[in-house]
Amino acid sequence: MVQVLVSLPDSPNQCPEWAIVDLQGSLETRQPVPLGGKFVGDLHFTKQNVPILIIGHHILYGKIVDMEKPFAVIVKDESSETATDRDTDKNTSVNYVVKALIKKKLLFKQRPKPIIANIPKKL
């Protein structure tokens, strides 16, 4: 029997807005190597604010979506471990803190278009 509190951090600057790049499918590398540190792609915006993502040999056109239901990014608040004193079985409940809010995402759901990297020379 637990009650776990979810709260915003004490000061508003501790809860920034993050973003999501939403891709259909998953990103893979050719060799099975860890992804940490790897380059993903270039993100451009057209003058009309259409996002364009170039990943490897593909170009993806997307759109900015204002999320109908924003996400809260929640993490366990290690500093708030409390033992509820009324509980005889010493229930320690760890509370959650909202680390960030995500209200917008870049949604790429159109099929990626291949980029021809080498312009074939006429023989």
């Binding site: 940490g36 170009i59 995500i102």
Partner: protein, 409 residues
């Protein structure tokens, strides 16, 4: 390709743009180079989809609590609402980027420049909030573990069960504070010495009978019950909290002053210290019906009506409408019978409720079944909606009746 995050040059970027057949003039000058963070970790946090009311509650600094056992499904509660928390898995990949400029945040003029943005996590799941009814059936069971029968009985064998204060209930019942308080009110629970108790029926009968007797002796049935005097007189026999509670359940507070409603806003309302209550005819008659039927099995309807009439305080009128949700009448048998059938004892789950109802009686008219499903309605689904979903309508003797859609178990 392992890239130092500062190494991506404008030259590289523009080459790619050229191959992609995009003109520099088509795009804004800032290019964001996206990299996976060195500390890419897909387990470091959870994504919780926020409902409007939850976001508002959080922003106002009010309490948002997740409640439940490890084996229960967890619920999230604000002060007033309850939501089921469900995990949603998606086939998309959500790249979580803390620092990403979007659309209008990106300047549309100036020299070409780059900015690095890091993906700290790739997520394929999140937690959804679905508004739900608080799971309060448990509350009734908890409070029935130790029903109050009077101070003298508290230490005896039947009263060794657990007793709960509000904080205890919050730890066990999956609902918001306001919803739990509403349920406690519906259960006619009473706070005695800080603990929430339901009065056992026999004890309640004693208390109520004393109050009614006092009313009859003092003609309070017409003038109203003066709360303080009543507490003073009966305070010898029962805890004051209990007396006040019973009066609150079975009587209405009389508003000070003369007529109802037409107050001149400039008039200072007269301050009256003494509170007066008038017994509610409907609630008292309902109570006596319960008293008569509770341990009686099937009662001859004609006889019941006579007995009932005689049992209620003088001057009060009984009416069949007071029996809604409390008793069922079978007019098809000879003689007609009535029996105790309280809605509070029926299952909370909608499917199970309908199953029990149809097991009890094959066909119900709208008037007969409504009192037994009204408590299941929500903002979105009313009695008609419930019947459409869970029952089958047909005509019998010119009246629309409802029966089960599927075989009754």
């Amino acid at each position: 390709m392992d890239c130092d995050q500062n190494e991506r040059s404008l030259e590289d970027i523009n080459t790619v743009l050229e191959y992609a057949k995009l003109e520099l003039s088509d795009v804004k000058p800032t290019v964001q180079c996206i990299y996976f963070s060195q500390q890419l970790d897909n387990q470091s946090f959870k994504l919780l989809e926020l409902d409007d009311t939850v976001l508002e509650t959080l922003t106002n600094g009010e309490k948002v609590v997740i409640r439940g056992n490890t084996d229960d499904m967890a619920v999230l509660c604000t002060q007033t609402n309850t939501f089921e928390i469900k995990e949603a898995e998606i086939s998309n990949s959500m790249l979580i980027t803390p620092q990403l400029d979007i659309g209008e945040d990106v300047d549309d003029s100036g020299p070409q420049n780059t900015k690095v943005s890091k993906v700290i996590s790739v997520m394929n799941n999140y937690y959804e909030l679905r508004p739900c009814k608080p799971k309060v059936a448990k509350l009734k069971k908890l409070l029935e573990e130790n029903m109050y029968s009077g101070k003298e009985c508290e230490e005896d064998e039947q009263h060794q069960g657990h007793k709960y204060c509000f904080e205890d209930l919050l730890n066990i019942v999956q609902g918001s504070e306001v919803e739990i308080k509403e349920s406690l009110k519906k259960l006619k629970a009473c706070q005695i010495e800080g603990l929430w108790r339901v009065l056992d029926f026999d004890f309640l009968t004693q208390v109520l009978n004393h109050i009614i007797q006092l009313c009859e002796e003092n003609d309070w049935l017409s003038t109203g019950i003066p709360l303080d005097e009543c507490l003073e007189t009966l305070g010898q026999l029962f805890p004051r909290e209990v007396i006040a509670h019973v009066i609150d359940c079975y009587a209405n507070e009389m508003k000070s002053g003369g007529g109802q409603g037409d107050h001149d806003p400039d008039d200072q309302p007269m301050q009256i210290d003494a509170k007066f209550f008038s017994l509610s005819e409907d609630k008292i008659c309902q109570f006596f019906a319960e008293l008569v039927l509770k341990n009686s099995g099937k009662f001859n309807l004609k006889e019941f009506l006579k007995v009932w009439e005689q049992t209620v305080p003088q001057g009060m009128r009984t009416s069949l409408s007071q029996l809604e949700g409390i008793a069922l009448i079978d007019r098809n048998c000879m003689p007609e019978v009535i029996w105790y059938f309280p809605v509070e004892d029926l299952p909370e789950d909608v499917g199970e409720r309908f199953n029990t109802l149809f097991k009890t009686r094959e066909k119900w008219s709208l008037a007969e079944i409504s009192p037994y499903i009204r408590d299941l309605t929500t903002l979105k689904v009313d009695v008609g909606g419930l019947l459409t979903k869970y029952a089958r309508a047909s005509m019998m003797n010119g009246i629309k009746v409802f029966s089960s859609r599927k075989p009754v178990t």
